[in-house]
Amino acid sequence: MTLLYSEVEEELRAAVRGLLADRCPPAAVLKRVESDPYDLDLWKTLAGEIGVAGLLIPEQYGGAGASAREAAVVLEELGRGVAPVPFFTSAVLATHALLATGSAELLGELAEGRTTAALVVSFAASPYQPWRGSSVTVDGGTLSGTVSAVAGAEVADVLLVPVGGELYAVEAADAAVEVVPSLDLTRPVATVRIVEAPARLLGPCDLAEVLRFGAGLLASEQLGVAEWCLDTTLAYVKERHQFARPVGSFQAIKHRLADLWLDVVRARAAARAAAGDDSAVTVAVAQAWNAGVAVHAAEEALQLHGGIGMTWEHPLHLYLKRAKACEMALGTPGDHREALASLADVPGPERGQQ
């Protein structure tokens, strides 16, 4: 297992990056974010032409049969662009859950990019508390209940609902999906209400495992967010002059950016490790580190942009909001560190101790 990028991965990266630069640069994302956040035309091209929708789906179902490592590279680029497409929610989370059920037909549709799915779990759930925010129950072939803070649901054709140890499919038309004002403008969350909706049992679902898989890959998206923030800030402080010098020539600024770079370097290693190995330790390490680095990078970017960073017109805030929302998504850094207490044998104080 290597922590480097392969040539194939670099080609995939270049294709995604090129498409985003062309079709959906951050300024364009900002422009649509209050009316129609998702760019489904872009998604169609990405899913179909570049083929990212079926990346994780084996060839037998019509997918590319690639590994999580390639999906991770796509996520880096999508994070870098705060790209408003349902890749993570449909082609990673929902697809991974579906793969365990072997639902050939649905997988085929997803692979083609014809159908988009969403896993109906709260984005604030985690591998350690997978049921947080969900109250769905089964009754005689129908599902009822509410799930809060579901990501990607409003652009899904089919909703995949985990209940108990099983995964069910519900047609989007049979559920009420209400998007709520969301901290993350580029991946809003919705409340999904299901009342005696007809549901198809697809097969078994180990929800904690699915969320862990997602959390591991989310670290790559966080890396992309942090990289954009660092790069954009570097460019800005080289250009912006105050006191007749580039702001980036001031030593206090330089040292902070050096420290931030070092954090990002380590986030890259952590993301690569988690992309190649979804064991509980590796995922917890990557999330515990990268979630914080993304937030820190966005916060430093804002501060070092000065006033302009506080304005709505600069796309920086989209990254801050994405980073802060991701910090809570699929487990906070604190949740992941807490998990490491047992995973890495660093046990806490015993009962009765302070």
């Binding site: 209050e34 984005f123 604030a124 947080r132 803070a149 709520v180 004002p181 969301s182 901290l183 993350d184 403008l185 969350v189 002059h241 105050q242 006191f243 007749a244 010098r245 702001v247 001031f250 206090a252 600024i253 937030v295 916060e299 804002l302 501060q303 000065g306 006033g307 302009i308 960073g309 506080m310 304005t311 709505w312 017109e313 920086l316 805030h317 801050l320 802060k324 929302a325 910090e327 809570m328 998504a329 906070t332 850094p333 604190g334 949740d335 560190r337 807490e338 806490g348």
Partner: protein
């Protein structure tokens, strides 16, 4: 004048004035020298120690009060500058309606190209007989849309080094050529404005201080601004930690050891910062102002950002209360939801002097550390790289 004397004076004032007529009451209070007692007589004060203001506030607690939100810039920044640099006529003209709230003030300082380096500002004022013609763009102006007057710094001589070619004015916000546009922030609101000045004519008697002395005048304004931002008294557990503690206590199910340890650390930091503010105010009252004031805004920004970030994480709330683009009436750090507070607090380390600039000031003015090599010191403003 001692405490007993002033109480006596207040009693007499209260006996003679009806608090039900708010505006008349405030005007009378100003005329009685009970607005700001340390100001000179005739200008809303009695020329006595600032310490005695506490007595006035206590005694007049139930009577009509100022709207410190909307009047903040006038009271905190314009007034002390007018007092220090204004002519007798300017003081008499402006201070009374400023204090009573009949005239609202805003501040035209920052520009898109002049933020931390305010002295590099480019808004030009050119003399034309008894008038000045002003052209330029200002930014981050809160309250511009309901202001009658502004304090304004301009460039009057581009041929001398930047600090020497500025002049300070009182700007008539109703003058032709003043255009106010809302500036939307990352919170969704437009709490600030951009102000475009196009051929705005200001008569020379609106100039505050000498021509070319604008930087020194502006320093008085800025010093008052920074104390105002970080220096307000809070109770233990108050300020930004308040809403976090409320959530924490009401929702035991949200607690984790990680959050607990971080919250305890921030509780301690809030408390020592609060104590430090108490000590600072004691020093002021005792007439021994210490350099500690310079640090208050820095601590305030850091704490607000850490606490509001923790608050969002504690709630695990992926929602936001409202992104509607609307004008807010005044500055609000603590209102609305955790997400708003988190985003708004990001501005605390930028507005009124970035934390970086404040650290420069502390290290040079308080700690006496040498300045960095300056490349802009003796260069005419017009020749500076931008």
């Amino acid at each position: 004048m001692n405490e007993a004397d002033i109480k006596h004076h207040i009693d007499a004032f209260r006996g003679a004035n009806d608090p039900d007529n708010r505006l008349e009451f405030l005007r009378a209070r100003f005329d009685a020298g009970l607005a700001w007692v340390w100001f000179p007589e005739g200008l809303g004060g009695l020329g006595v120690s600032r310490e005695l203001q506490q007595v006035v506030e206590r005694e007049l607690a139930g009577t009509p009060q100022l709207n410190t939100g909307v009047q903040g810039i006038g009271l905190g920044m314009a007034a002390p500058t007018i007092l220090a640099f204004g002519t007798d006529e300017q003081r008499r003209r402006f201070l009374r309606p400023l204090w009573t709230g009949e005239e609202i003030w805003c501040q035209l300082f920052s520009e898109p190209g002049a933020g931390s380096d305010l002295a590099t500002l480019a808004t030009r004022a050119v003399r034309d007989g008894d008038e000045w013609v002003v052209d330029g763009q200002k930014v981050w102006t809160s309250g511009a849309h309901h202001s009658r007057w502004a304090i304004l710094v301009t460039r009057t001589d581009p041929d001398v080094p930047k600090h020497r070619g500025m002049t300070y004015f009182i700007c008539d916000m109703h003058a032709p050529g003043v255009e106010v546009r809302p500036l939307r922030q990352i919170t969704g609101e437009a709490e600030f404005n951009e102000v475009f000045l196009t051929g705005v004519r200001l008569s020379d008697d609106l100039r505050l201080g000498e021509v070319g002395d604008g930087w020194r005048v502006a320093q008085t304004t800025l010093m008052n601004e920074r104390v105002a931002i970080g220096g307000a008294p809070v109770r233990r557990g108050g300020g930004m930690i308040g809403p976090v503690l409320d959530t924490w206590r009401e929702h035991p199910e949200l607690r984790t050891h990680d959050l607990h340890q971080r919250l305890l650390s921030l509780w301690v930091e809030s408390e020592v910062t609060r104590l430090s503010g108490v000590r600072l105010r004691e020093q002021l009252v005792a007439g021994q102002p210490g350099p500690e004031g310079s640090g208050m805004k820095l601590s305030f920004a850091k704490l607000n950002q850490a606490l509001s970030g923790l608050d969002v994480e504690l709630k695990r709330d992926l929602g936001y209360d409202d992104w509607t683009f609307r004008r807010s009436e005044d500055v609000d750090f603590y209102g609305r939801g955790a997400g708003y507070r988190y985003l708004r607090a990001k501005g605390n380390s930028i507005e009124g002097g970035t934390s970086e600039i404040l650290r420069n000031i502390i290290s040079e003015r308080v700690l006496g550390l040498p300045s960095e090599p300056r490349v802009d010191k003796d260069v005419p403003w017009k020749d500076l790289p931008r």
